[in-house]
């Protein structure tokens, strides 16, 4: 009896993991398309991009014959896939609509951030592999602009560690179901904003920006994978921010047997999509209104650090008042 229960629980967790992975993997181009559409709308562009066109772009890139620069070909052949694997590993750790997936206790913020950083660096290596000046310089510039991830991540982990003892996302969700989160919601929102500021660096369009220069030596499936991995990283950062701000909207698996299974899952998925839509809007507004223009990298890093520091101070002040 106990063995069958354990097996059932394992199967349930695997099923949830499969659903979560499929949901995230399939909807990545949709979120990125929406993000770009929102950015174009906020920017006042005359011709708005089709949110579904990004699917077609990826498909077209995938179907092209594979071509890569001979110099550094061995590295270019592997690095986009490494970025994809790192992004996928991070996506497995960040709960979307439910807990109870295998590896939930590994969802430490530092581990998730580290995996996302690894994916980011793998994409930078793609640009450096061929040794050409233009992509190499763009890659180095992107890497330098992304270095503020580390201090912000450390501060974010410290703030999350002050909020709850184990410092994992799963622990945060569990606490959100039993305690009032309103006291710490503002600091967590600030942490989420800081992570979005440093994590989501460039999403202005499919054919512009430094990322396009970074992958200009690639064609075919490798290029499609690099683009998809970059977008997956952005979506995981947004999922992370969403989980920090609205942790109570993530379901706990022990609820499932007691209620209507399909309805519960559908409601949780719907709530996740709604929150992701809001997150897309926030990121687009951040990109257009706050960190656009010259010196955006320095401003972005400074603002993110300020947000993280403010989160720590506010958390402490809130505790003192509470």
């Amino acid at each position: 009896m106990t063995l069958s229960l354990v097996l059932l629980a394992r199967m349930q967790s695997l099923l949830l993991l499969a659903c979560h992975t499929a949901l995230v993997v399939v909807t990545v181009p949709l979120w990125i398309g929406l993000l770009r559409w929102m950015m174009a709308t906020m920017d006042g562009a005359r011709s708005l991009p089709d949110p579904a066109s990004y699917w077609r772009l990826l498909r077209r890139a995938w179907r092209q014959p594979g071509v890569r620069s001979a110099a550094g070909a061995q590295i270019t052949a592997v690095a986009p896939w490494v970025a994809l694997a790192a992004g996928l590993g991070a996506a497995l750790l960040v709960p979307s609509f439910t807990l109870g997936m295998p590896g939930g206790d590994l969802s430490d913020l530092l581990a998730v951030g580290g995996l996302l950083e690894m994916g980011f660096l793998a994409l930078v290596i793609v640009s450096l592999a061929a040794g050409l000046a233009r992509p190499g310089q763009a890659g180095l510039r992107t890497a330098v602009r992304g270095i503020m991830i580390q201090p912000v991540l450390l501060l974010a982990c410290a703030v999350l560690g002050m909020c709850l003892p184990d410092g994992t996302l799963a622990g945060l969700v569990r606490q959100a179901h039993v305690a009032d989160m309103n006291i710490i919601r503002v600091p967590l929102a600030l942490v989420a904003g800081a992570l979005l500021l440093v994590g989501v660096t460039e999403s202005s369009g499919p054919d512009s920006g430094p990322f396009t220069i970074m992958v200009e030596d690639l064609a075919g499936p490798d290029r499609a994978v690099a683009q998809y991995a970059r977008d997956l990283l952005v979506v995981v950062w947004m999922m992370l921010a969403r989980d920090l701000v609205w942790p109570e909207s993530v379901m706990e698996p022990d609820i499932l047997p007691r209620s209507w299974l399909v309805v519960s899952i559908a409601a949780a998925v719907g709530l996740w999509m709604l929150h992701m839509l809001v997150a897309c809007g926030c990121v687009a507004a951040m990109q257009v209104f706050i960190v656009s223009g010259r010196r955006q990298a320095a401003r972005r890093g400074g603002l993110a650090l300020l947000c993280a520091l403010m989160a720590g101070v506010l958390l402490f002040a809130g505790r003192g008042m509470g």
Binding site: A71, L115, L132
Partner: protein, 563 residues
Amino acid sequence: MVPFIRAGWAAVCLLALLVCLGVALPGGVAPGSGFFAGTGSVALLVPLAVAGMVACGRYDLAACAGAALAITGGPVPSCIGAGWVLWVCDNSPHAPPQRVQHAPDRVALLLLAAGTAWAGRMDFLLPGLCWIATRGLLGLSFSPRVAARAIRPFHMMDMAALIAGMALWLHLPAGGMVADTRWGGMLIVAGCLLYGTASWRALCAGDGRRVLAGLLGGTGALVIVIAGLTRLAQADDLPAMTACASRTFMLVAGMMLTWAFMARVVTVMEREAGPLVLLRLGGLGVLMPRLSLLCAIGLLAESGLPPLIGFSVVWMLLRLLAAMPHGGGLAGTIPLLLALLALGVGWAVRMLALIRMVAVMLCGRPRTPRCAGASDPRGRALWPVVLAVLPVIVVSIWPEYWLGLMEGAGHPAHGSGWPVLAEVGLLSPDGAAILHPGRLCLLVAAGGGCVAVLRRLAVPRPARQVAGWQQGAPAVPPWMVFGDPLTQAGPGNPARIVLDMMTGLTRRRADMYDYARLRRHIRQTVCKGTRRLSRPWRESAVYGPVMMVALCMGGLIFIAWHG
């Protein structure tokens, strides 16, 4: 001769492992009560013996011998051993022409030996003396200078020096005046700053070995931070935090395995591709793929990214800093956040240094014919490197086993048995957070495996390779067959981009001029003031009273600080 010495180090490694495992050896090894509770300094013999086994030159072996004395000796012999290591490092052929002044280190070593031998006389000064004494051993410097004349390139002896420095910190007595919160805070602040400057030196160095020397200095700075945290925990009587700091210290000792491996890698790489000057290297990832893959694993372990041992160290350090006693006010929280900020900035710069190393050495095209002729070492030549990476991977996946092994040395020999291996995970000081690096490795491997299968199934056709210059780029000039350093991603670019990100070039130059002018002005003022003050001295007018007042003031300040 060298094989015999290596066999000797292998025997030392085996004996140290047996002691760590609790096997009673004839004669026994007496564990000392050290600064880091629950650990015996004998445990440091394991990474040192690994370094001794892979060391090649006589200076490296001499430094390893000195470090062994520093580990196994009492207070005075350990200082003698550390002094020996310092002397070897200063007089080796790799020492920079412009010698770093290590006279304060030697004086501090002497005072440290005296202070630890006569306990109770100058206990309050011991942490400061140990800091100064280990300055050269741990590669600590507040200076961001990166001139080749000033930095010693990384060799195995630097690892021995680092281990000797760690042994000195281990031998420092615990409790009493040595455990003081002021020293703790000062060491943490100094460690964070030293970490940042070491990372900056790694970012700006023009030589692969000097980049690694900077990175090793960062590891030494982490030792100082952990020492400060231990001091705080001992002063506030927090045994759980002390134990956690001790475990973090031993994880840093585990990183020595990575450094030993990297020393071996760069030695082989230098033999195959010539001097590791960053302006002359390039394309090693294609020319020697197997060695480059091993090098990338070592760099990943040092970077602090999951899932290798560097990540475990960063995780433990973060938990330790978060568990630091706050002093009960907002003013106590701000220093914690600032310490984390400083550490994070240092970590970011360190990451940039690693990216730069990968970009310039492993990626791109070879810049010289010497580099273009490099290839993977054949046959048995690669086996030592492969064998050296295995302990790194094992310690990364199961750090708890390593910690159990290290902590076994702190307990008395009980005849037989193994360290506690039941719980495989790293615990935070309060025991609430737990990290399972093994499971994290499994997750990464599973994700990577899925992607590899997808790639195998979905991309059956291999991509066509074309020369880069056919895609519209200007042709490579014939007088630089192997590529122009100016058109590739240069080695000095990240540092410049960081500075550009903070402020523009014009503004930066203006600030530099202002700084130079201010410095000259301060120097002139100080000289003028000294001249005015020393005039009565020279004329013997107020010689006695001035001296007495100065001495009294200094004494009062010291008493006030001492409490």
